[in-house]
């Protein structure tokens, strides 16, 4: 049976390749989207634990956590909570750095734990000195910045006072300036994006989150990456869009395979009639058709996995958005792509296989 399936596919090589290509496109799209979702999740993890914090307090019901706006007075009130050891405000400026819009600039209190946790590798701290900024080592490498050089943020030039390392991707691929300067630059005087918090020893993040949300109306506390993804309407939209795309790929792919297989069946009526004549049961013939569909789908899925993995990386690199999202390949992501590919083959082969079982051998032979 396998030999016949293989022969049938290779003798119509062009058709096999075209059908497999269609499936490959669908699978590649799914794999790339899943890897981006995973990348987003990891990105969100970086945003949650900025400065080595345990949790972040954001404005509730915002489209994206970076769009949150809180009053500066929140910090003092939060710091007074019994579960909280330290709290410090952050103002995030996105798409602000000339030369690399994916870098984030953090407006931070020079005396807060966020700034204190940065390890200087060159120069000195910027403090509250006007016109001074510290740059993460990854961004410095990318933009070839040195101490004493300049970097443009929102159209204004800043002198690089120091270069730091933190171990958190977003921080190392970003820059840190005095909170007050960032507020002025962005027009958010007296405001911050979020407050990052370190808890007292022994306090569970989930318990603290509940207590904070009870005490402060209109805020949301994010303690884990999943929550960060859910908190952003954009992220939710992406997740739902991926589901829709997977289903569309499944439907379109199945129809495409069914169409190709059905045409193939019409052309091969005589051959299938012969198999029936020599005693092949309808079930066995249907399995042959189904097997061909699955084999084509597996070929397409394998190619799609490869294209999805490589294409995702190339796309992110070409668009220069690697700081926000970089594809993260997981075995489960690849497995889901493969499953969709096989499902396309099975679903696409069902109708042609059913048609074959309805033909009488004589009528099928008449089609030769």
């Amino acid at each position: 049976m396998l030999a016949i399936i293989s022969t049938n596919l290779t003798r119509r090589a062009a058709r096999t390749v075209l059908t497999a290509s269609g499936i490959a496109v669908g699978v590649a799209t799914i794999v790339a989207l899943l890897s981006f979702t995973q990348g987003l999740r990891e990105t969100a993890a970086g945003l949650v634990h900025l400065g080595g914090s345990d949790l972040g307090v954001f404005q509730a019901n915002v489209a994206d956590p970076t769009a949150s706006i809180l009053p500066e007075a929140m910090v003092g009130r939060l710091a007074a909570q019994p579960q909280i050891a330290r709290a410090t405000p952050l103002l995030l400026l996105v798409e602000a750095v000339r030369g690399d819009p994916s870098a984030i600039v953090f407006g931070a209190d020079p005396r807060g734990f966020f700034t204190a946790s940065l390890v200087l590798t060159a120069g000195r701290r910027a403090g509250a000195t006007p016109g001074r900024i510290m740059v993460g080592e990854r961004l410095a490498a990318k933009l070839k910045l040195r101490v004493g050089g300049s970097v443009t943020v929102k159209g204004r030039s800043y002198t690089v006072a120091g270069i730091y390392h933190s171990g958190i991707f977003f921080e190392d691929y970003g820059a840190v300036m005095d909170l007050a300067q960032a507020q002025t630059l962005s027009g958010h005087a007296g405001e911050e994006t979020d407050v990052v918090v370190r808890l007292t020893e022994g306090t569970r993040a989930a318990d603290a989150a509940k207590a904070i949300e009870r005490a402060f109306s209109g805020v949301q506390v994010i303690t884990d990456p999943q929550q960060a993804l859910r908190a952003g309407a954009n992220s939710t939209l992406i997740s739902k869009a991926i589901l829709v795309i997977v289903v569309i790929a499944l439907i379109v792919g199945s129809i495409s395979v069914a169409n190709t297989m059905a045409m193939s069946i019409m052309e091969r009526q005589g051959e299938l009639g012969l198999l029936s004549t020599v005693g092949w049961s309808p079930t066995r013939i249907a399995l042959l058709i189904l097997g061909e569909g699955v084999a084509v789908s597996l070929l397409g899925a394998a190619a799609g996995l490869l294209v999805g993995v490589l294409g995702g990386r190339l796309l992110v690199s070409a668009l220069g958005v690697s700081a926000y999202v970089s594809p993260s390949i997981t075995a489960w992501g690849l497995g889901r792509g493969l499953l969709v590919g096989v499902a396309i083959g099975v679903l696409g082969g069902i109708y042609p296989a059913w048609r074959v079982t309805r033909m009488t051998p004589l009528r099928a032979l008449a089609g030769t």
């Binding site: 049976m1 016949i4 198999l275 029936s276 004549t277 020599v278 005693g279 092949w280 051998p361």
Partner: protein, 229 residues
């Protein structure tokens, strides 16, 4: 090769129409076990339809076809009867072009679920039987018309049928090659004891058969010698 016994075939008042065209009208016929019967008739007289009904390739509108007393279409799986009882040879060889002669002979055995080694051995044995062992790995396109038809005969014998149905098996061959193919069919019948039902325009086939019948406009017109002689 095991010698299968011939099937006992009864065609009982069978009629078949395709749309408004009556292909067969109340045909009754018996093929005794091991008997070789030749059937002649003009084009459109219903010969191929009768063969298809006997072989379970199509259902009769009325009447019954019994093989060894069992109606073929009353069985839960007619494909099984085709697999276990009947072998077909058609005017066109109907070999699968992408498969070698050996693989073509193996096709019915795949349908029967035979193991690879057993299939291979059986196919080679049959190709030897029809004198084509040395052409086993050739594609149909690399064989002559007569050789292709001999491969088709070997394929028809793959599952050791007790009834061999041949529908103008030499219709596309020259007279010398036709003679060889008929020699093969009758020799196999003599050696294996199967029931043989052959449709042919060739009068000499009727002479070689135990009985010859003529079909005209969907009815049996003449029978030589008469049934029951």
């Amino acid at each position: 090769m095991n010698a299968p016994s011939g099937a006992d075939v009864v065609v009982d008042d069978v009629s078949k129409s395709f749309g408004r065209i009556a292909a067969l009208r109340g045909v009754s016929l018996r093929l005794k076990p091991g008997e070789a019967v030749a059937m002649a008739g003009r084009s459109g007289s219903g010969k191929s339809t009768l063969l298809a009904l006997i072989g379970g390739l199509e259902r009769p509108d009325t009447g019954r076809v019994l093989i060894d007393g069992q109606p073929i279409w009353a069985q839960p799986r007619p494909a099984r009867a085709r697999r276990e009882v009947v072998g077909f040879v058609f005017q066109r060889h109907l070999l699968l072009g992408a498969l070698s002669a050996r693989a073509n002979v193996e096709v019915p055995l795949i349908g029967a679920g035979a193991h690879r080694a057993a299939r291979h051995e059986r196919a080679m044995s049959l190709l030897e039987e029809v004198g084509l062992a040395d052409r086993a790995e050739h594609l149909p396109s690399e064989l002559s018309g007569g050789e292709r038809q001999r491969v088709a005969v070997a394929r028809a014998l793959a599952n050791e049928p007790r009834l061999l149905l041949a529908d103008e098996p030499t219709g596309a061959l020259d007279s010398v090659t036709s003679e060889r193919v008929f020699d093969l069919l009758f020799r196999l019948r003599d050696r294996l004891g199967m029931t043989l039902f052959v449709v042919s325009y060739d009068r000499s086939v009727g002479d070689r058969a135990d009985r010859a019948i003529t079909l005209t406009d969907g009815q049996i017109d003449s029978e030589h010698p008469p049934a029951g002689r």
